[in-house]
Every structure is written in structure tokens, then in C-alpha cells.
């Protein structure tokens, strides 16, 4: 049992991190053409116009919540005079809403994908693996948020978060994670799997987030000469 815990919480995260970084580099170098949203809006738009933003915006808030929950130590919020109950209420309301939005959006998107024949056929093989993982990790996360909001229940900021931060100190605190309830462990493990799948699935499109657009001039000019150089040396 102890060996399994070490393998899961002490070794696996690093393996997946290497896979994630190396896989992304490989994808960028060898398959830039394949990095796309693979949008199916051309086939169906009415559902997507609701479900797409619902899922993605929900997910953005969920990610923001994870950043706060995992990286900010409990001491810091206490110093800022944010009481435990206030923190938990906030996590429940904002996190819960964001999580439910993401789950609802994903459910609509999956239903749409299964219902509309053209979209179902447009899917690629990797999707069949990614969608179940994504759905379970979301459901487990929402469940953990809702259950973890009761007073006196497991405080992940003293367990999971400590383990997460210890990963970056290259001294993984395996017991901190091993002591977490099964729901949190399942959510974390599936999250790790998601990162392993990331570079090799359509999830890579998240790397394409076009923030540069905000500061770019509207019309882009490029020279044929520079293009030829780039292709020649690549």
C-alpha cells in the first residue's frame, strides 16, 4: 500500500509533468497543423452558442479557483483576516457555480456530439478517451466541492494543497495526499491523467489562447522572403 501511495503521489506527478512538457514540445514541433479547436460549429450552432461559453467560462473560473486553493497557503488568508467559514462559503458559491456551469456545458456539448450525426462522425479517436476522463474529473471535483463545504469536513488546504506545493519543492509530501478522502484522491488522479492526455488530444487547443490579439495591429503583413527562410531552416 505504501509503495502504491509513493508511486501515485510521489512519482507519477513527475512522470506526467515530463510527458506533458515533452509531449507539448513534440506536438508543437511536429504537428502544428493539428493544433486546432476542431470546431463543429459549422454543423450545429444553436446548442453550441449556449454550451460552448457555459463550459469554457465555467472552466476558466474553476481553474482560477484551483490556483487560489492550491497555491495560496491557509496561513496567508488567515493573515488577511479571511475566516475559515467565509473562505468555505466563497469556495462553495463561486466554485460550485463555476463547476456546475462547466458540468452543464459539457453535458450539453456531449449530448450534441452524440445526437448530431455529422458531429459524431467528425470526432477523432482521442476524443473517446478524453471526454469520459474530463466528465469524471469534473463530476468528482464538483462533488468534492459540495461535500467539502460542510463545517468540520476534510480541509483540502491542509492536505491536498500542501502535497501540491511540496511537488514543486521536489520533496513530495506523500502522507499529506495519502490521508485525503477517496473522492479527493480520485479527482486528483484523474486530473493527472488529463494532463498526460493533454498534448496528444484536442486539449492542446488551450495553448492557442490568443492573448497577443489584444496588443496586435489589426492588419498583419508578412513577407514571402521571411516565410521561405523559416520553412528552409525549420
Amino acid at each position: 500500500m505504501r509503495h502504491l501511495q509513493i508511486a501515485l503521489w510521489g512519482v507519477l506527478p513527475y512522470l506526467v509533468l515530463v510527458l506533458f512538457v515533452a509531449g507539448s514540445v513534440w506536438r508543437y514541433r511536429y504537428d502544428r497543423f493539428g493544433m486546432t479547436t476542431r470546431s463543429s460549429q459549422l454543423h450545429e450552432s444553436r446548442l453550441l452558442r449556449v454550451a460552448g461559453p457555459l463550459f469554457h467560462y465555467g472552466l476558466l473560473f474553476v481553474i482560477a479557483g484551483h490556483v487560489v486553493g492550491l497555491l495560496v497557503p491557509e496561513r496567508l488568508t488567515e493573515d488577511m483576516h479571511i475566516t475559515e467559514s467565509l473562505y468555505r462559503a466563497n469556495a462553495l458559491v463561486v466554485g460550485g457555480l463555476a463547476g456546475v456551469a462547466a458540468v452543464l456545458g459539457l453535458a450539453l456539448l456531449l449530448w450534441r456530439r452524440l445526437r448530431v450525426r455529422a458531429i459524431r462522425q467528425a470526432g477523432v479517436r482521442g476524443d473517446r478517451l478524453v471526454y469520459p476522463v474530463l466528465a469524471t474529473v469534473l463530476l468528482a471535483g464538483v462533488a468534492a466541492t459540495l461535500l467539502g463545504s460542510r463545517a468540520g469536513s476534510y480541509d483540502y488546504r491542509l492536505g491536498v494543497s500542501v502535497w501540491f506545493r511540496s511537488l514543486f519543492e521536489l520533496e513530495p509530501d506523500v502522507p499529506a495526499m495519502a490521508g485525503a478522502p477517496l473522492l479527493f484522491q480520485a479527482h486528483t488522479l484523474l486530473g493527472i491523467v488529463l494532463f498526460a492526455l493533454w498534448p496528444f488530444s484536442r486539449l492542446v487547443h488551450a495553448f492557442g489562447v490568443p492573448l497577443g490579439y489584444l496588443v496586435r495591429p489589426y492588419v498583419v503583413y508578412r513577407s514571402r522572403a521571411t516565410l521561405a527562410d523559416r520553412n528552409g531552416t525549420r
Binding site: Y30, D31, R32, F33, G34, M35, T36, T37, R38, S39, S40, Q41, L42, H43, E44, S45, L48, R49, G52, P53, F55, H56, Y57, R117, A118, R120, Q121, A122, V124, H205, G208, P210, L211, G212, Y213, L214, R216, Y218, V219, V220, Y221, R222, S223, R224, A225, L227, A228, D229, N231, G232, R234
Partner: protein, 544 residues
């Protein structure tokens, strides 16, 4: 003054017979792949008519092009923040139904159907999901005004023309409008691309999509008011008319021009002042946009312009090509070519000589002499229907430039008829339209005789000018990993067409040899299945 060169096109609509040869050859060349079944980089639509995709000119609905907000140009669909906020679903994206659901026929059934009393049929099948299809719309459903007045009601240009015009269906007129990408000076598709994958080429102004940088956000599809950027639903990337740049670079006309039966397309260089484009596109009154764009163009005969062009690095043969450019002659010298929908503020660079034929036909129908100058001038003025409609297409509603162009074409008819009949042409005809008889004869040579070498004046400057050492490499699609058809594909043409088609869709990677391409897989031709050789780097110890 910042001089830039642009390869531009002019189409003489009087000569278009609506044969769709340009569309078909273009499709065979560029979009005969899965994911682009519905895509026509070149299409020919009957006007009045809805066009392709249906009603694309209705910018209240599609939000393509630019608009003025407090004197500043912003994409009609909103600025940068608004665009990023709508990244996850593009509310203005046309659906496949707005183009058409592509289909094929179940030909196998003709040979495989069991023996029975009925003759087997080839039933239509959707090219998207293979299910039985009911065909309700196609890329040219209202060709030749087919389908009647109810389809005409969907023409956004006709809707803006007065009520009485719309009711006179029996007396209606029609002409064909071939359309490709406009390769605009102020392209709104480029402006709305969040990834920066779309760009305008500095050397020749061709607007292209970098397939490696496109992430499939689909903003360009709705941002283009002409709906000439398409989404490949198989690869998840935007694709558009390339002005056949591999051919242009080699000094050859585009496929649509080369194969045009009516010989109505003209290709040539235009010089323009890039510093003036933004200001011109922001002209307040829409009717002033056409003259504003004319002001952007620079005369290659002006020594000042030539000096500035050479300072800007434009090769000498490009400047001399601009001097003999048929496009420049039709746009700025004779002023018979007009831009398509200047009111979109994109400064389009595919211009049209408006058709005089509907006027001549109407005149001849009433028993008058359709080639008499006075008759024609009078008819152009009296026949408000074609004039207002053409103005809605080409000058944002201002009938004066359209009338001037049509009168010049009418004067050309009368003048040349007199010459051909051995009569002395009346110099007043030319004077009426502000031209000299020699101008008219030169214009006649360009428009009517339309010699190949005079229609297409395309400099092959890349090899000779600007000092690009690598320009000797020939076709720019042929870079390692590029989407070009390599020699191996052409080799396939010799054996059989089937093999060639297969080679085009499959990996053009040679089985062995050619070190340059080792370890590369051409994803442009990938069908998305399996694990092709060359997608991954070779294993250690594995023979390459």
C-alpha cells in the same frame, strides 16, 4: 508615401456567359478534398440573386467588414475585447445550410442492387455524414434566376433598391457575377483573426492563411463581408482563395483566369500608397469610398512614385509591369472598372467592368438600334433598374460612376461600329464621355480583343529582383513539409489518374530517398486515421 505593390484582378462582366468553368477548375485545383466539399473559392452567381452563401451581402446579419465608430475603423462584429469574449462560439458564423449541404449519389447501388422489377437509382447521399440526403439547396440553386421571385426576395442588394423594381419580375434583367477573394488592401478577415494566422503578403498583397498558425477560431469566416474564407470542417482550419500564388509567382495567371472561356479576367500590378489606405477606408460617406480608393492608387508613370517604389524595394520589373498593367488601365485610366461593395470598407482589389448587355438587350427589345450612341446614352439614363442595382453592387448606391462607366462602354460600341462599317466615327461620341478616339480604340483592344499577353501582365520578379537568394527553388508550396504537390505526385499523373488522385490525398512522402523530407509527414493530405510514417521522428537505429 509608402509604395506597395498588389496583384489585382478586373473582370469584364459583359463577357461572362455563366459557364462556371472558372469555379470547376478552381475546385478541381484547390478544394476537391474532404472537409472542403462545400467550398468554392471561386463561384459564379446570377444577379439579382442571393449569392453564395445565401444572402452574404446582408451585413446587418453577418457583421462582416468594417464600420466607423466615432471616426475610427473597427470590425463590424466588434473590437478586440469583444472578439476574445466570444471566442467559444462565434454568433455570426454561417451554417453549412447557408452554403449548402454537399451531397453525392449512391452510384454503387446501380450495380449492386438485387435483381428486381424496378430500375435501380442512384439516391443522393450527404457528403458530410453519409446519410440519405434531400437536396434543397445548392451552390447555384438560383442560377439564371431559377426558382422565381421568392428567391429574388433574398437578394440583399435588391432589397435596398426601390419597391417598384422588385415587383417588375417579368421585365427583370440578369447578369453573372464571378467572385473570388478580393485580396483587400484593408482586409477585415486578417483584422479579426485572433491567432494572427492570416496575413497580407508584402510583395504582392495576396491574403493568405498560415495553416500552421490557424487554431480554428472561425472569426475570419464571419469577418469577411464577401464570405470568401471557409472553414475546413475536417482539418479544423480556415482556407481561402490563394490567388493561385504558386502560379502568380511563376508569372502565370490564376487557374480561374487561365481557363476562363469568355477571356474576361485581367491580372496586373497596382501600385498604391499604403499610408493612405487607413484614412481612405475611414471616409465618412459610403458613396465617397470608391473615389477614396482611387486616390490610394499611384501612377507608375510618375517619376516621384517610381523613385519611392524603388526606395521601398519594389523590383524594377514590377514597376514596368505596373506601367503596362491592364488592371491599372481599366481602373484608373479608363475608369470603367468598379470595386465590389466598397461600403464594406475593406478596399477590395478585384474590380468589375459593369455589364452593358442588359441595357442593350432592353433597347433592342423595344425595336431601337442598340448600338446607336444617343439611344444607348438615353437608355442608360432611362433604365433605372439596372443602374440602381449596379450602383448597389459597385459604388455603394451612387449611380454617377456606374453611369459614366456604362456610357464609356456604349460610346465604345458606337465608335467601333462606325469604324468597322468604314464610316467616319463621330468625334462627339468620344468627347461626350470625356475620352479621345484613340483612348476608345485602345480600350476596345483591351476589352474586346483581349490578347493573352495584354490581359495578364504578371511579373515573375521573385527570381530576378529583391535579392532573395532562395527564390530559385521554384514553387513555394514545395518546401519540406509544405502542402505542395511534390514531384512524386506529378510522376503519378503519368501512370493513371486514380493513382494521382490517391497520391494527392495520401502522404506525398516518398517511400525512400530524398533526405530533405525524411522524418516529415505532410499533414495537409492526412485523412486523420492511422499512424503514418514520418509523423514521429525515426526510431534510433531504424533505417531512414
Amino acid at each position: 508615401m509608402r509604395v506597395m505593390a498588389q496583384i489585382a484582378m478586373v473582370m469584364n462582366l459583359d463577357k461572362c456567359i455563366g459557364c462556371h468553368t472558372c469555379s470547376v477548375t478552381c475546385k478541381q485545383t484547390w478544394t476537391n478534398r474532404s472537409g472542403t466539399e462545400y467550398v468554392w473559392f471561386n463561384n459564379v452567381e446570377t444577379r439579382p440573386g442571393q449569392g453564395y452563401p445565401r444572402g452574404y451581402e446582408d451585413q446587418d446579419r453577418w457583421k462582416g467588414g468594417w464600420r466607423l465608430r466615432g471616426g475610427r475603423l473597427v470590425p463590424r462584429s466588434g473590437g478586440r475585447v469583444r472578439r476574445l469574449a466570444r471566442l467559444f462560439a462565434n454568433p455570426e458564423l454561417p451554417m453549412l445550410d447557408d452554403y449548402y449541404q454537399p451531397w453525392t449519389y449512391d452510384y454503387e447501388n446501380l450495380t449492386n442492387a438485387p435483381l428486381g422489377d424496378d430500375v435501380p437509382t442512384a439516391a443522393p447521399r450527404s457528403l458530410i455524414d453519409g446519410s440519405p440526403a434531400s437536396i434543397t439547396w445548392g451552390p447555384n440553386w438560383d442560377d439564371d434566376l431559377g426558382g422565381g421571385p421568392e428567391h429574388l426576395a433574398g437578394d440583399p442588394v435588391l432589397r435596398r433598391v426601390s419597391q417598384e423594381v422588385r415587383l417588375e419580375y417579368e421585365r427583370s434583367f440578369m447578369f453573372y457575377l464571378p467572385r473570388i477573394c478580393e485580396h483587400c488592401l484593408n482586409p477585415s478577415c486578417v483584422a479579426v483573426c485572433p491567432s494572427g494566422a492570416m496575413y497580407k503578403r508584402l510583395e504582392d498583397g495576396i491574403v493568405l492563411v498560415d495553416q500552421d498558425r490557424c487554431r480554428g477560431w472561425r472569426m475570419c469566416v464571419s469577418g469577411c463581408p464577401y464570405k470568401k474564407v471557409y472553414f475546413n470542417h475536417h482539418s479544423g482550419k480556415a482556407e481561402k482563395c490563394t490567388l493561385c500564388y504558386p502560379r502568380i509567382e511563376a508569372g502565370e495567371p490564376t487557374v480561374c483566369s487561365e481557363t476562363c472561356v469568355g477571356r474576361l479576367r485581367y491580372l496586373g500590378v497596382m501600385l498604391y500608397d499604403a499610408d493612405r489606405v487607413g484614412e481612405a477606408a475611414a471616409t465618412a460617406r459610403e458613396e465617397d469610398l470608391y473615389p477614396a480608393q482611387l486616390d490610394c492608387f499611384l501612377s507608375p508613370d510618375d517619376p516621384e512614385v517610381v523613385a519611392a517604389a524603388e526606395a521601398a524595394g519594389i523590383p524594377h520589373d514590377w514597376i514596368s509591369a505596373a506601367r503596362s498593367s491592364p488592371v491599372n488601365a481599366l481602373i484608373t485610366r479608363y475608369r470603367v472598372a468598379l470595386p465590389l461593395h466598397p461600403e464594406y470598407r475593406t478596399m477590395p482589389m478585384v474590380w468589375y467592368v459593369p455589364p452593358l448587355s442588359p441595357v442593350v438587350d432592353a433597347l433592342a427589345g423595344t425595336g431601337h438600334d442598340g448600338e446607336d450612341a444617343d439611344n444607348l446614352f438615353g437608355a442608360i439614363d432611362a433604365l433605372r433598374i439596372p443602374l440602381e442595382y449596379l450602383a448597389g453592387l459597385f459604388t455603394a448606391g451612387d449611380t454617377v460612376p456606374v453611369e459614366r462607366a456604362l456610357c464609356r462602354l456604349a460610346a465604345m460600341r458606337s465608335h467601333m461600329r462606325a469604324l468597322n462599317l468604314g464610316e467616319e466615327p463621330d468625334p462627339a461620341i468620344a468627347a461626350d464621355v470625356g475620352m479621345r478616339p484613340t483612348d476608345i480604340e485602345e480600350m476596345y483592344r483591351l476589352l474586346a480583343l483581349a490578347k493573352y499577353d495584354e490581359r495578364y501582365v504578371i511579373p515573375t520578379a521573385y527570381a530576378s529582383g529583391a535579392g532573395h537568394a532562395d527564390a530559385t527553388g521554384g514553387c513555394s508550396l514545395d518546401v519540406p513539409g509544405g502542402p505542395g504537390m511534390s514531384e512524386e505526385v506529378f510522376a503519378g499523373l503519368g501512370t493513371s489518374m486514380g493513382a494521382a488522385a490517391e497520391a494527392f490525398h495520401a502522404s506525398p512522402l516518398p517511400a525512400g530517398g530524398d533526405d530533405r523530407r525524411r522524418g516529415r509527414f505532410n499533414l495537409f493530405g492526412w485523412d486523420g486515421r492511422g499512424r503514418p510514417d514520418g509523423l514521429f521522428p525515426p526510431r534510433r537505429g531504424e533505417a531512414g
